[in-house]
């Protein structure tokens, strides 16, 4: 049953891709293809729901041999546990909604069928990644989603910016993937398998075989695998591709670059939880924390609605990483889920706004082009705009928040739904899911800090908290600039209209999902069991006296989160007896503190935003001028792109040129050198001859040989007495030489 369900889930999108992809390639339209693709996704969604019930009580693994060699076998298979089940639902659900949304949004695009084919392929790949029970399978899915991301970002490849962005996305993530692959190689070399679960899986072997001596390499391996997540989930420093990826159609941004693919990194990290060591966890946490904070700060100063959301996504993904790095497994995944819904909603909402603002998609992509061109001239007044060599720095007018405002009346549904999502992401308490997940993370980090008395985790907590505040600030900035106030561009404003049903319905559904409805699954401790972390050893000095079983926060009693957290901690501690077998619960007070603080910072953020952008009591401009350097830093996204463009790309190209030159000069040069030596030695006998400069190894050798031949020719003067001289002198020489020998 499980197997067939999973197979069905995978096959539905795959079949849709295979059939429609080929047709799309041939530019043939299959009638009602969009409906069929969507139907396939819906079937998958239904199956996912069915599967939800199959999970309990034990995780299941089903494998087949994929590559069998003499001594090792690489298997492919499904691993189904609660996390998988929930992820399946998230993916299929968001995907189905995006499919529906796209029917409206992409309507009229000349490559409309191909779009759906790509979406199907993406869904398949993502689902494959989610259900894989082994690293190789995950890697395969991982790369395939990367491919889809590439194809979809570059969907409107006529735009140079899109073409650049898709390449950048693929390459940047591939850098991370290589790290991941190296990590896989390390694990494979040690364990001779890439399966994660079961008797012979990596986790079991790692738990039973590894000793403290292995911790160094295991940490390295963990960090390397996390590199893949850095790339895919756009963590610092490989995050720059994600904002550029907004060149893709907005539904794509919602599905791939907000809800699912970018979250795959988090998923992977969570999957690798059992082999994360102290060090690798800390690295993950720091990367996540820094990303969360930095991306949030960048988001403050963006004007492109999609890029604000992109940075927001980066920031939120950082959050999740932070959570997992800090050991809050459930909280991280929980946030992944909630984020998937509200961020998808935000993107789709922004898509709706863009759609409303600009009916470009109805006119086809050529139209877009004209706009692109005109933008280049029309927006020169935008002095903040970068010089242009940084990818995606020019803002399309239909995405520029400075052109918006007052849309709440024109697009009520979009407004309401987006507001819900914003409240959710900002962490407005209690009725929005984002609050709970974010709180869980904050609490988890603080709890770990208190439990281990770890300075690191305190720093991380502060980062997370600041990021939360900033998030609230820029998200409301977005809402205020877009939906409130007066229309800033009347012409465009007049054109705006509410989106069609196919677009608003998904918005509404997602809005519902942004409330803590389905997410309760995470709170079921029996359902979600965090895996053990046998290699996590808290620093000895960090061990503090057992605290009292502190009062449980209000939230926990309300929704039963405490059980899940308790389960998590039990699991975490049970597995290594060296530590905390008394089952202390240092998190108790942490929850309360974290919740209070998070509510405070969220409120502060919203309030400031209101002051700045709605009431305009405070002037953003004056602040900008006051803190010009900081603003510049934020505006230039901490100069990451400049760094990459200026240094790395140049370095690579330089290296390539160097190699090409090397080929032409050094390799040739060596041979030339040999040639020169040969020539000179021979020249001692035959006299000097012309040194002709030639390219190429063979040329040079041939030339030298040829020249020697020519020299020999010259002895052949045609005068018979020369010949006789050579003969007789030759005789004398032969005799003398052999006499000497």
């Amino acid at each position: 049953m499980t197997v067939s369900l999973i197979s069905l889930i995978l096959l539905c999108p795959l079949a849709a891709f295979a059939v429609f992809g080929l047709l799309g390639l041939a530019n043939r339209r299959f009638p009602r293809q969009d409906y069929l693709s969507t139907a396939a996704m819906l079937i998958a969604l239904a199956c996912s729901f069915l599967l939800l019930r199959e999970v309990v009580p034990e995780p299941e693994t089903h494998t087949v041999n994929w590559v069998s060699l003499g001594s090792v076998t690489f298997s492919m298979g499904f691993y189904l546990d609660s996390v998988t089940a929930i992820m399946l639902i998230v993916v299929t659900l968001v995907s189905s909604l995006v499919h529906i949304f796209s029917m409206g949004y992409m309507h009229g695009d000349p490559r409309y069928p191909r779009f759906f084919a790509y979406l199907s392929l993406f869904s398949f790949s993502m689902l494959f990644l989610v259900v894989s029970d082994n690293l190789l399978g995950i890697y395969i899915g991982w790369e395939l989603v990367g491919l889809c991301s590439y194809l979809l970002i570059g969907f409107w490849f006529e735009k140079d910016s899109a073409a650049n962005a898709c390449k950048k996305a693929f390459l940047t993530t591939r850098v991370g993937d290589v790290g991941m692959f190296i990590g896989m190689m390390m694990l494979f070399t040690k364990f001779k398998t890439l399966s994660l679960y079961g008797e012979g899986g990596i986790f079991a072997l790692a738990a039973s075989q590894l000793t403290t001596g292995d911790m160094v390499w295991l940490s390295i391996a963990g960090v390397l695998i996390f590199c893949g997540a850095i790339g895919k989930s756009a963590q610092m420093p490989l995050h720059t591709w994600l904002p550029d990826a907004m060149e893709g159609p907005t539904p794509v941004s919602a599905l791939i670059h907000a809800a699912t693919m970018v979250a795959a990194g988090v998923y992977l990290t969570a999957r690798m939880f059992p082999i994360l060591t102290e060090t690798s966890s800390l690295v993950i946490a720091y990367v996540g924390g820094i990303t969360a904070l930095v991306a949030a700060t960048i988001a403050i100063v963006r004007f492109d609605i999609k890029r604000v959301l992109a940075y927001s996504t980066i920031s939120q993904l950082g959050y999740m990483m932070l959570a997992i790095g800090a050991g809050s497994y459930v909280a991280g995944l929980f946030h992944l889920t909630t984020h998937a819904f509200f961020k998808a909603l935000l993107f789709l909402g922004s898509g709706s706004v863009i759609h409303a603002f600009h009916a470009m998609h109805a006119h086809g992509h050529d139209d877009e082009h004209e706009h692109d061109d005109s933008d280049a001239h029309g927006h020169e007044h935008n002095e903040d705009s970068d010089s242009g060599h940084v990818l995606g720095s020019e803002i399309p007018p239909d995405q520029d928040m400075r052109n918006m405002g007052g849309l709440r009346h024109k697009m009520p549904i979009t407004f309401i739904t987006m507001l819900i999502a914003t409240l959710s992401i900002s962490g407005v308490p209690f009725i929005f899911s984002g609050f709970w997940s974010k709180d869980a993370i904050l609490a988890g980090v603080l709890g770990r800090a208190m439990e281990w008395n770890s300075v690191h985790h305190y720093i991380l907590f502060i980062m997370a908290l600041s990021a939360a505040g900033i998030t609230a600030f820029y998200m409301f900035r977005l809402i205020f600039m877009t939906f409130f106030g007066e229309p800033r561009n009347q012409e465009m404003h007049d054109m705006a209209h509410e989106s069609p049903l196919s677009m608003t319905v998904p918005l509404l559904i997602l809005a519902v999902l942004s409330l803590p409805v389905v997410n309760t699954l995470w709170f079921n401790a029996a359902y979600v069991k965090p895996p053990p972390q046998p290699h996590l050893h808290a620093p000895a000095h960090a061990y503090i006296a057992p605290d009292t079983k502190g009062g449980t926060g209000l939230a926990f009693s309300l929704f039963g989160v405490s059980e899940a957290v308790a389960a998590e901690e039990n699991a975490g501690h049970d597995t290594h007896g060296t530590h905390a077998d008394d089952g202390h619960h240092g998190h108790g007070p942490a929850h309360t503190i974290a919740m209070v603080l998070s509510i405070c910072v969220a409120g502060l953020g919203i309030f400031l935003s209101w002051l700045f952008y709605h009431r305009r009591t405070l002037s953003a401009e004056s602040v900008t001028t006051t803190f010009r350097p900081i603003y510049d830093l934020f505006w230039h996204k901490y100069y990451f792109d400049e760094f990459y463009d200026g240094v790395l790309v140049a370095l690579t190209v330089w290296k390539a040129r160097l190699f090409a030159q090397f080929d032409g000069t050094v390799v040739d040069g060596i041979v030339n050198g040999v040639g020169v030596v040969t020539r000179d030695i021979l020249a001692a006998f035959t006299g000097a001859f012309d040194n002709r400069v030639v390219d190429g190894i063979v040329n040079r050798v041939a030339q030298v040989t040829w020249a020697v031949g020519g020299r020999i020719r010259r002895i052949q003067t045609g005068a018979i007495q020369t010949y006789l001289f050579v003969v007789l002198a030759g005789i004398v020489l032969l005799i003398l030489i052999f006499r000497a020998l």
């Binding site: 390639l25 041939a26 530019n27 041999n65 994929w66 590559v67 069998s68 060699l69 003499g70 001594s71 090792v72 190789l136 890697y139 395969i140 899915g141 991982w142 790369e143 395939l144 491919l147 590439y150 570059g154 490849f157 006529e158 735009k159 140079d160 899109a162 073409a163 650049n164 898709c166 390449k167 693929f170 390459l171 591939r174 850098v175 993937d177 290589v178 692959f181 190296i182 896989m184 190689m185 390390m186 494979f188 070399t189 082009h369 690579t652 190209v653 290296k655 390539a656 040129r657 160097l658 190699f659 090409a660 080929d663 390799v667 040739d668 060596i670 190429g696 190894i697 063979v698 041939a702």
Partner: protein, 499 residues
């Protein structure tokens, strides 16, 4: 008998082509289908459960030197035989409308080439092996030189001289092996016998010093063919100048002859020598892997710097063959399997790439990457297939290129940690140049010069589809290929481990 048929039918075809009048084009086309049909039969009937050689024919040939007509196939040979037989008809189709002058001569040379290649992969007698190896030279020289591009003469002679240079060193090594194989009168060229002798304690062949030298001799011979840095510079020229179908053969099969030779002779016959270069102390112990690494990185970076589409693909071949070398250097079954898979897959994928370059060249009459742009709108099918080929070549999982590369790296990491890690740079750079090319050729605004560029036609698609299917099939189900040679690899690894 079946094998002999397969090898010599192209030769008979060549004679027929030469004797028959021009009009018999249909016949010419079909000649290459016979080996393919036989190959399909081989594929079905090949016994995958054994490492032994099958379809053996062993007849005396030149008694004076104990040279035998000894052919047979094991897992590795059959894999490459299949590849050769598959690419044969594809190349014939690909050349059908492209080659205008002297189609008869072209086909005759092509068929001779095919005999050489098929024979090479089936030969079990070292002498025969060498003869077939060399047999490919002359046809290739003429195929490049007559039907090639503007600098064809240069490219052809460069190819010829380079390869001959390598093969004379190989000849010396081969004679040395022969002379040391026994007392006068009892000497042999028989590869299985030599393999057995080479691991017999106390035999003259089982001597480290001797094996190192003959290993080097054979290695250089094969290295030129592979090509391994620094013997590679013939390749870009040859590829750029060769007509499409010949580039396909060059990249698809001829390069494999080098790596096949490395496995068949260098690894199997000189395990001590191999041990010295892959497992020895200090620099030499890493030398083979180092060469693999250099090939990967060097080839990739050179590819990145190219602006000629075909040259780019040519350099990418150098990079990809590096994975084969790296995998072989690992000497474990993961690495070797990866290497063999990579051989086969590279054969398929590079064939596709060259066919695709040819398609574009036929239409635009140039290959300057920067001279295109936006072809994606004009030629969607072509773009799609190219994307597939590029993705396969850059090692996208799910397509065949990945499996070989991944297994090679996984195997190599066991032995050479740092070199393997550094080699992964090649993966990124590989993606970089392919994507960059994709962008420059297909994405962006359509270059107005090419508004009327016709879409890829049916004949061209026909050449590409089988390869594309194989690419996907082997990416999804690599065991299909691995089944053929698993036992052979295990056998080889056992021999190597026994040192």
């Amino acid at each position: 008998m079946l094998l002999s048929l397969m090898i010599f039918i192209p030769l008979l075809g060549m004679i027929a082509v030469l004797l028959l009048p021009r009009e018999s084009e249909e016949l010419i086309k079909r000649v290459t289908l016979i080996p393919l049909a036989l190959a399909v039969y081989l594929f079905i009937s090949y016994d995958r459960s054994t490492a032994g050689t099958q379809y053996v024919v062993n007849a005396p040939w030149i008694d004076a030197f104990n040279i035998q007509y000894h052919i047979g196939i094991d897992g590795l040979s059959v894999t490459l035989l299949l590849l050769t037989a598959l690419l044969g008809p594809i190349c014939v189709i690909a050349s059908w409308r492209n080659i205008e002058k002297g189609i008869k001569a072209y086909m005759a040379l092509f068929l001779l080439l095919e005999t050489g290649m098929l024979g090479f992969f089936a030969a079990l007698d070292l002498f025969l092996f060498y003869v077939f190896f060399e047999l490919t030279l002359l046809p290739m020289y003429f195929l490049i030189g007559i039907w090639g591009g503007p600098r064809r003469e240069y490219a052809a002679i460069k190819f010829f001289l380079y390869t001959l240079f390598g093969s004379v060193l190989m000849l010396v090594a081969m004679i040395a092996v022969y002379l040391n194989s026994g007392d006068p009168g009892a000497r042999t060229f028989d590869i299985p016998t030599l393999i057995a002798l080479a691991s017999t304690e106390g035999h003259a062949l089982n001597n480290l010093n001797f094996q190192i030298w003959v290993f080097l001799g054979f290695f250089i011979g094969f290295a030129v063919k592979v090509p391994i840095f620094p013997f590679h510079t013939w390749l870009p020229d040859a590829h750029v100048e060769a007509p499409t179908a010949i580039s396909v053969i060059l990249a698809g099969i001829l390069l494999k002859m080098g790596t096949y030779g490395l496995v068949r002779v260098n690894m199997a016959m000189f395990p001590l020598g191999l041990d010295h270069f892959t497992n020895g102390i200090g620099f030499w112990g890493n030398s083979l892997a180092l060469l693999g690494f250099i090939n990967i990185v060097y080839g990739s970076f050179c590819a990145l710097a190219q602006t000629d589409f075909k040259k780019l693909v040519a350099y990418s071949s150098i990079g990809h063959m590096g994975f084969v070398i790296l995998g072989l250097a690992a000497r474990n079954d993961t690495g070797i399997t990866g290497a063999i898979l990579q051989m086969f897959n590279h054969g398929v994928i590079s064939a596709m790439l060259f066919l695709l370059v040819g398609v574009l060249y036929d239409r635009a009459h140039h290959r300057e990457i920067n001279g295109f742009g936006g072809l994606g709108t004009r030629m969607p099918v072509y773009t799609g297939i190219t994307t597939l080929a590029f993705m396969a070549s850059l090692g996208l999982p799910g397509l065949s290129g990945f499996v070989g590369e991944a297994l090679s790296l996984l195997g190599a990491y066991d032995e050479f940690k740092w070199l393997t890690i550094l080699s992964t740079i090649g993966i990124v750079v590989g993606a970089a140049y392919f994507l960059w090319t994709l962008q420059r050729v297909f994405l962006g605004n359509l270059n107005p010069k090419y508004e009327d560029l016709p879409e890829i036609n049916g004949r061209e698609i026909l050449t590409l589809v089988p390869l594309a299917i194989l690419t996907i099939l082997l990416g999804v189900w690599p065991n299909l290929a691995i089944d053929m040679f698993r036992e052979s690899v295990t056998n080889l690894v056992n021999v190597l481990q026994a040192i």
